[in-house]
Symmetry: D2
Subunit: 350 residues, 4 copies
């Protein structure tokens, strides 16, 4: 167990208590496997309603890398690759899952984890114009994340622009929403679930980092966009016999809009921590509107901080500084935030 203040990531605790309660209450109800249980069916309906995507489909998977791998394999043909910001999770931290599945990840320039519509369009235009493009991987889709790996958000206008470009060039748009609850609860966000369903071809609603024990809900804009998707999931080992485990969790997360609210406290606490950092003259790598905070720490402070706080190493900044990440979550406690702030203040003034 972590004996330190838990700010290293947003998957340190179990799940929202309502989910646990529901698992208990339903435990002895017998129901069909493989996603044909009534909880999964209810969750699908609620999610489609929340996304205003009546013609869509929902599939529940266990984790984010699995969702990315299976969706991308399902959408692309063998000769196609996926465009992604070079910092995209699929390009950097999924053990080469996409390439292992046969597809090239084509890294695009990025700023704070976001790709620009212009850069996407330029790539597609150049590819179209290249006389030798039959010797090259055909770009078949664009991968983005909301929030990004850097906690930043696409605005609705940006999403619309990306979507417009993708449709103009007949490639798919896919959004990785591993931390989607932290964008939906952000006051700086203007992209709703319905917007994602409208402007993306496929996206997933992250459960694991947003209050579930496990699980991501893949939303497909229209039925049969990916034919035989069940078998594709099966052949990647992504079908749980007890699909109820995923169904119950998402049914609960989408009851009374819990998912839309579950990120709020994380954002409040992230703001408090950010203010504390600024008040105490810490240097932020940049300010983010969601639950991840990137701080440029002096190296000599890190050891002390590490004695009391569990944080994430992010990257070297220069010889004397290191970027670390602090993350809040739906489970973050007020007392821990207060202790963290006190500690940060002391550290700067010692």
């Amino acid at each position: 167990m972590l004996s330190k203040l838990p700010f290293s990531c947003d998957y340190l605790e179990g799940c929202h208590p309502a989910i646990l309660e529901r698992l208990s209450n339903t435990n002895y109800q017998s129901c069909d496997g493989y996603g044909y249980d009534p909880f999964t069916l209810a969750a699908r309906d609620k999610i489609l309603q929340a996304c205003q995507a009546e013609d869509g489909e929902v599939f529940l998977l266990s984790g984010g890398t699995q969702a990315n791998l299976i969706v991308i394999s399902g959408l692309l043909r063998s000769y196609e690759g996926v465009l992604a910001p070079s910092t995209g999770h699929i390009n950097a931290h999924e053990g080469g899952a996409i390439e292992n599945g046969g597809h090239k990840v084509i890294g695009l320039p990025q700023t704070l984890g976001k790709v620009k519509a212009e850069d996407v369009e330029n790539y597609l235009l150049n590819w179209n114009n290249d006389a030798n493009h039959d010797h090259m991987v055909k770009p078949g889709m664009l991968y983005i994340s909301q929030p990004t790996e850097y906690g930043t958000l696409y605005s609705l206008a940006e999403l619309q622009h990306l979507s417009y470009i993708c449709r103009q060039y007949s490639i798919r748009l896919y959004c990785d929403g591993a931390r989607l609850a932290y964008s939906l609860a952000s006051r700086n966000n203007d992209v709703s679930l319905a917007d994602l369903a409208r402007y993306c071809d496929v996206f997933y609603i992250g459960g694991t980092k947003c209050g579930a024990l496990c699980g991501e809900a893949v939303v497909i804009r229209e039925k049969n966009l990916i034919p035989h998707f069940f078998t594709i999931i099966k052949q990647h080992g992504g079908i749980l016999a007890k699909g109820r485990l995923l169904g119950i969790q998402f049914d609960e997360l989408f009851t009374d809009d819990l998912y839309l609210r579950i990120g709020s406290s994380a954002l409040d606490y992230a703001e408090i921590i950010t203010e504390c950092l600024k008040d105490n003259h810490y240097q932020l790598l940049f300010e983010t509107p969601t639950n991840q905070i990137f701080v440029i720490m002096e190296n000599h402070q890190l050891q002390k901080l590490g004695e009391y706080v569990s944080y994430s190493y992010w990257e070297l900044y220069d010889d004397e500084h290191t970027v670390i990440r602090l993350a809040t979550s739906w489970a973050t406690r007020a007392a821990d935030v207060q202790q963290l702030c006190t500690l940060l203040e002391e550290l700067q003034n010692s």
Copy 2:
């Protein structure tokens, strides 16, 4: 929810209550992700101890097809294939997962789901002697299951013989233990966890069908037999961020030998049902020592049965008969068994 008597399979209910309780008690403990939580570490130790495999390794995965796919991909080189009884789960019901991962499944003759050492040896001998074998897939491992897909068991002598052949020909032996608890609790079984660890290179201890919400524990006979296995799991989307979900379940299943006991009642109930079937002159496809019962039903009886009982269609027998499967599990209730027996009696006498 199933309104009928639930005998179609062994994954119809949630999980053993001790697991639910443990999930609740530990819910707010913060701990590291990706299998570095203390529950997973404890579960690994307990499993290795139960298997008397101190030099071994344990990895926790979500489901059976995932375990098969990842273990087989990890063990084989691209030019190798896997021998399996033609009825093996990997050959028949995993959506071509193994082939999608690049490896041929080579079907061998089988009897009630079991492969004979002689047939394995013949195949290997013929391959060795074939002057053109460089043009053929090299057999790299043997896949078996315990219990098999037909509920039958390998005896210790049979396992030893298979193991001997595999080692003589330098191929791996892998055992799929999706329903392992139902063999361990069987009075007809003489193969222990330690035997599996000694005679197989890798096997997995099934959780999903044996009392867990999800999860299978892959046991590798010796450390580093599969180098970089974490990354191999990651690139197949098999790493859960909240590894605690798997750790807590297996820690509980291997506390006070729960896993060794959890299948007992299922076997008792299976015996009761079998006796009832025999007493009432139903024809069994064959008798099995575990929790699956295969009955040859007259077609005209099936409709009636289906009104009250959830069973599995297995295969056509002849124009007037159909084979069905009835399965018990750790969650099977005495009252349901009694009702089922009453119904079977009535059905035969009506």
Copy 3:
């Protein structure tokens, strides 16, 4: 160099002299690479004309396994597998190329290398009716070969029946024509190139075993049946920079119907050898209408035969007999046939 009489296979010599001459005459003509040379363009036209397939496409590849791998990968989606007689080349002797490419080869019962339409239909019907077929590989195509690996031929009626079943069940029909010239020249054959183009979706016209140094011509029934096929070939390493090498050979083979004639002498010689075998009371495994002869030899005769003749070991027959294969080709010489016959006669009478 083989110092023995060369009857082990049909790829022992170089190529038809007309091809060599054409390679020489065109050697210094500069032309574009990657199949955009005028020879390839001419060869495509001639082949389409010979196949009466004006709406089709032709791609020239280097070898048979390559053609099978690339065509099957191009036609199937990840969740699909290929039905084939269990003796089919893709199932037995291509090193698992198809599975390495991600697809299951589903072996069907066969007789002398041929599959029956009834068996194909039964498989497809059962698959359609199986309630669990989403957990199984979807059959996406049928692979056959003409002549088969056993030198036998499908009749036109049989091909039509297979084609009808495939279309009824919406799967593709693909024919491996590695030795096609030896069927086209057979008096027992009633399947023309145009028939193959009409009843198959894709087939290939074998060059390597039929007079070329290398090369197989893949004929696709209609344009864009396999979109982006050039890139699919490229990503399998199947595009030759000097596509002219293939273009020149097929242009020559399809000039003045050379391909239709090139197998004739091989068949004449095969008949002579067969007659000699029968006259001398050798036992044939079965009689074939093409250029491969399967003989059941007494083991004690084999050593003697092997001193003078290069033959192919085929399989054990019983403790005292072995099946061998003798093959003729476009390059077989009358003198060698005569020597072989004399030897066979002596051997039987010694």
Copy 4:
């Protein structure tokens, strides 16, 4: 046929006349298939001798992309990727073959097609130090080309440095020698075949662009470095039944050091063209020591040039300029060079 002066690439003509002659002289010699013919055996010996690599192995393949795909698949495990200069052929122009085979190509910074040892070391060091590297693709090899895609050369000192780094970090070094003859004949080159065999783990000697009709000779530093490589080649469709086609060509190229001489005239002509360009105040993108010349042309000149000369479009330079490539080869004729120079002079002065 190209009616223009042929300078677009180095694979516009057939093959060296000695090869054609040898194909003719040996045409009717019967010999074993699949690379067991005496020509291939002789070629292997001669190549190993030329490389001073008695303990090595040689395999003959059809083309460059095929060689890259098969070697990289053979060397890497599934969790490994290949480092390459971002301009490397495998990263840009092979249709995603490496990723289709399951491996990530990790692009490194490059200058004129070359990667620096420092950049390689930095990548490997950072990877080693990254606490999360189990979530990342493990770098398993470095891919370079000699000459590079930009016609530049690694010096012996540079090759030694790269080799040292690779061995220090236990990754493989592989060199793509598609145009190797043009480096070996260059006066600016100090890297011999023996150096490549000593400092690389695997490299290939390009035939297709260096005087052969097709074919690349893969040289492996020591036997069994890639176990079961024949089957690996087979499963990628890379085995030619008539292996003699490759054997004869390489036997001839390595008779009397033909391969070491075959690039000389191409380099002489490249120098003449380069001098002409400089004398006439054309701007070179940079000067190269081999057979490819990169010129920054004014757009209005291009149309005129294109009427008489077949050249390669390379890339846009700015709004008014375009980079083109002119390539010479073993087959380039003096008269064509002279006409080209006259034309370039006229164009600049018109």
